[in-house]
Symmetry: C2
Subunit: 677 residues, 2 copies
């Protein structure tokens, strides 16, 4: 069998497996997988560099799949590569199987990202390519010379986020990024031309990419394009591969079922095709389709040997490099192990009575100087979200120069979030990104994916409430805190809160919140900061030490013995409670003040601790500049919450404080009413 024939045979093997998996599961997407088989076969059998014996090797090439519904293709090619068994393929989409409907990140199995929501996957690849460049600039090309591959479909090309990832990859000149666009002109409900007449090649060229257009089912053309793309040393490359949806699909009468919308999202048989004829047409045995052909097995066995040789060479290079640069070798190990350098958090000197965004800037300055593998980003708001505390200690990444550690993301919040996810998936770096809290709305799809993948991205959100003031309702978060905290109520697949969300009450709690964020290596963390200055909370002895109570999600800030009422809030409202408490105390009313930076975390504490902070049966008053529901779970039926339950208004924030009842006088009034009940 000649080389091309063998390669086509392998691709047909992938097609048979993919179509059979969907058929057996009675659910899934066969058509795209059958069209894309040729590309992944060439990539995995000839180009993708990884260590078959060490899947976590930090210098491996990465492959990011954007259209997660093409999972049968990915599982099948990974089965050829020995990462999945035939039995596992047969369990496609079943309870507890290793082959869920959409791929779920599993580095050991060669799955570099979870995917499903189109557009995000290829943006993770952009993030990974940035991380690779960043690490290469610090560790050297000898050990950090990997190529990042992405695979995108028509849907991903259409998703809005492609604007962000296309722009960023072009602007930063990510020549280590190669994206294959599986252009089959079929989407779920129509042909592509019915919804999109854009010139994709021209668009990517406008973004500064090199673009190659090929027959995506032709082995020789795929090979040549990949070789050209690897040789490119200034730009990312887009390979537009025109492919045939459902390649090889046949009806019972042997009529072609290629290029049909109907084969996109259901088993071939449900689309009216014949799985048997299709398998026969592809050179398989319909009675026994779950087979790797011997010659294909041999092809991948040969590749495995090549990869072992390559890996051995790379390992030798790395060892020599480590001898030359023992300091770098230690860094590399620590970075990829997720090890934090020691930070003397208590020693961070916070200026009194600042906004928590300013306090965050202070911490970010310390992190910029001490955490060499941290990348901080902002969506064009660094001077306002105060990520410039980080930026001032470094400089921005730019084309040809990745010595900086700040990523200027431009106005593209979702892209920024996905790029941070991609950097984190790549490994070796710690990613943080900032914008206004109201724009967390744009990031929600990425927050969810970060939470699902258990990635410790740090999300920095400032301008936390109506005290944004004059910018008015479009810029004033109302429901956002409740919204993002929903991810504290969702458990991830390890049974932990899927996200940690912290809204610190003053500058010291901000230091503690950052400490918690950096120490949280198993879920994303959201940090919600104020625009306006906040009076520091009172301290019995050392406010920083007392603010460490935040590590339990909620803690008593101060209290009178035998308190008549417990006042509860997070963020800047805690200091308003302190002011209100002063008025109450003048009348001899005894109060306890509780700061709750994270109800989700607080609920994870022992019942004993929870009861020690919020005593069962005590009168409770909650104050929140977000929806009342933020605190209603805590305050329960035994108290009341003063919240912000409408869209905001444009006016100076001190005017809003008065108009909306967020001041000491109203706390006093409300608590008096509560106690009188």
């Amino acid at each position: 069998m000649n080389d091309i024939k063998l390669m086509n045979r392998a691709a047909d093997n992938i097609r048979i497996l993919a179509a059979s998996m969907v058929e057996k599961a009675k659910s899934g997407h066969p058509g795209g997988a059958m069209g894309g088989a040729d590309f992944v076969n060439v990539l995995f059998s000839e180009f993708l560099i990884y260590d078959p014996e060490n899947p976590l090797w930090e210098g491996r090439d990465r492959f990011f799949l954007d259209p997660g519904h093409m999972s049968p293709m990915l599982y099948s090619v990974l089965a050829l590569a020995g990462k999945f068994t035939i039995e596992e393929l047969m369990q496609f989409r079943q309870w507890g199987s290793a082959t869920p409907g959409h791929p779920e990140v599993n580095f050991q199995r060669g799955i570099e990202n979870s995917s499903g929501p189109l557009g995000q996957g290829h943006t993770y690849a952009v993030g990974a390519a940035i991380a690779a460049k960043f690490l290469q600039a610090r560790l050297g090309k000898e050990v950090m010379n990997q190529t990042i591959y992405a695979y995108i479909s028509d849907g991903g090309i259409q998703e809005e986020i492609s604007q962000g990832s296309g722009r960023v990859a072009g602007t930063l000149g990510l020549d280590n990024l190669i994206m294959f666009y599986d252009a089959n002109n079929i989407q779920l409900s129509t042909t592509v031309e019915e919804v999109d007449s854009e010139n994709v090649a021209m668009k990517y060229e406008a973004w500064g990419w090199k673009v190659l257009t090929i027959d995506g089912n032709d082995v020789a053309q795929i090979r040549q394009a990949l070789a050209e793309a690897i040789a490119e040393d200034k730009r990312p490359t887009l390979i537009i591969g025109h492919t045939i949806m459902g390649k090889g699909a046949r009806g019972a009468d042997d009529a072609s079922y290629e290029n049909k919308v109907s084969t996109h999202g259901q088993p071939l048989s449900a689309a009216g095709a014949s799985i048997e004829e299709t398998i026969r047409n592809l050179g398989g045995d319909p009675s026994n389709p779950f087979v790797i052909f011997p010659e294909v097995a041999q092809l991948y066995a040969n590749r495995k040997e090549e990869l072992k040789t390559i890996s051995a060479e790379k390992k030798a290079v790395k060892e020599a490099w480590a001898k030359m640069h023992p300091d770098l070798a230690v860094k590399m190990e620590n970075w990829f192990a997720g090890k934090l350098p020691a930070i003397d958090w208590a020693a961070i000197e916070q200026k009194a009575n600042q906004s928590t965004r300013a306090a965050s800037a202070k911490v970010l300055g310390v992190l910029a100087e001490n955490v060499e593998n941290m990348i901080c980003a902002s969506a064009d708001l660094s001077n306002s979200d105060k990520t410039d505390g980080f930026l001032k200690k470094t400089h921005a990444l730019k084309k040809g120069d990745f010595s900086g550690a700040f990523f200027q993301a431009g106005v593209a919040e979702l892209t920024m979030a996905c790029i941070c996810i991609g950097m984190t998936l790549h490994g070796g770096v710690i990613a943080a990104c900032g914008t206004f809290f109201v724009f967390s709305d744009y990031m929600k799809p990425a927050l969810r994916m970060a939470a699902l993948m258990q990635l410790p991205v740090k999300f920095i959100w400032t301008h936390d409430a109506f005290r944004v003031g004059e910018d008015g309702p479009t810029h004033q978060p109302i429901e956002q805190e409740a919204q993002v905290r929903l991810l504290e109520k969702v458990k991830n697949h390890k049974g932990k809160n899927a996200m940690l969300v912290l809204r610190p009450a003053d500058v010291f709690e901000t230091t503690v919140a950052w400490k918690m964020a950096m120490e949280n290596k198993s879920t994303p963390t959201g940090l919600i900061f104020s625009r306006q200055n906040i009076m520091d909370l009172p301290a019995a002895t050392d406010r920083y030490q007392e603010a460490l109570g935040a590590e339990k999600g909620a803690y008593i800030v101060n209290e009178d013995t035998n308190a008549d009422v417990t006042l509860v809030a997070s963020g800047s409202e805690v200091s308003t409670l302190v002011d209100g408490a002063a008025l109450l105390r003048k009348e001899g009313i005894k109060v306890r003040i509780v700061s709750v930076p994270s109800e989700g975390l607080f609920r994870s504490q022992s019942k004993e601790y929870q009861d020690s902070v919020i005593a069962p049966g005590s009168k409770l008053f909650g104050l929140t500049a977000g929806l009342s529901v933020n605190l209603e779970g805590l305050v329960g039926s035994n108290g009341k919450v003063w919240g912000m339950n409408s869209f905001g208004y444009s006016a100076p924030y001190k005017v809003l404080d008065e108009k909306l009842g967020f001041n000491a006088e109203n706390v006093y009034r409300q608590v008096k009413e509560l106690l009188a009940e």
Copy 2:
């Protein structure tokens, strides 16, 4: 004064007003407004067609501002046009003023959209242009020949959504759309070139736009570009206007403060410039800057006279047209008045025991046949979200042919939502759009804007819970229902729930939900439908009549006298409660079953009604396939909720039902435990 000088004088007038407004408010964005003044001056004094005496004239040109932070420019030019007073400009960004920090939709005042979150505004323009084409195809060019203008800034160009709006406008050949891109190379925190090296002209050409590049501060070039754009009859036009940020700004020493990042987002004085020198440099009087120059007032007075003449001509044409087409004239009036045709909802025959998405398709078919001015869209899922119930009765909009009523949005959920907003802002049409519920995440920024603007867009979401099944956690909504219902907890500026969210329990409730959605003309409505079939709820007499109880947000489906326990749910979980109740009743336990399609609406009913459905003190059990928090507010401390509080899993949904406890047996078990407490 010659013509060009006068036009420049008028633009300087806008610059002075804009800079002075920000200065007086001590807050806002002067630089961009000063750069864009020339364009809006030419547009408003020479091109934009509207009736000065009838701001709601349906045939008016529309102007959509994308960068809402450039509000001082908009308010100032509208002040020249007589829509705002000088006193109102002086109240910029103050409590209760007509000139909030970001523009808030006000057709009477010439403000066609609220803006602030970048990228959305120009997408509304695309929607408006589609609506105009749609209406033109039905009513004729005589009365529907308006041009839609959009104004976009560097940030909007970067926002991901520009990919969606650029693609759609090009693909549909929206030659009635003209967008001015204010390219000043300055964004909030950096110059543009630091974050973006893309070739914007080439990108829009790739999307199928005509692109003109001009000096955006040059009157003659602006005029010529607008004339060319208006003459274009196949494509939308992008006018790239290179402008000078902070044009005319000066320091105390008369040094230039043009082209500075610092003038983007703060008063000129805060940026180190001199407001006095700037005003002087622009030909104004620093001691009295809030003035419309007499010659500028005359320019706009002349334009007003021209517009009156034009409007009179258009009115005559309309009257002649109405005589020729009395039927169309009635339609036009009804459509723009938001009048619904009579729909015999009770007569819609639903097939028994279907999924609610299928029931929705049935209703959509009726709407397609009866509501001639309705446009339904899908983000490439029409065959799955079942908006194809609508599509089958019409055909898709396409370039050169807007006789259809279905908008194939492609894979671009946020774009689709914003386009529906834009269609609604335009007026005359009813817009609905569908996708999977999990992708409501992508639409959140638009949901918020639709809610803020009180626009009755209908959002159709199917695949409402983990019963998506095999597609797994990326496609299974968990926190989405709680998330979208947060907008039921936010009050809009009229004091109403900002959104109506309905999750019907069976096919009959689906008909009722659609009835409610169509009759809701004051807020957006979200409709959440099931993928899987649901057994119809039991009815005493006529299930449709009983399902009308949904109009109160919650109602009793059935009950035993003196019920021991009340079972509460929405959507498909209600039928699971019915099954569980059967097991409980076998043991003589008396139950009441309540369906709650909308807690927010239910909470708006009289206390008496609420108590009649959920009796105070009664034992309560809630079942929700979303987060428990969905029902905890209703169930309170007197009961318990069985919810889905983790990410989902890939498996057939009936397996998931068993594994996750969403079946009759578990309802039985949980309620027994509750009653034993």
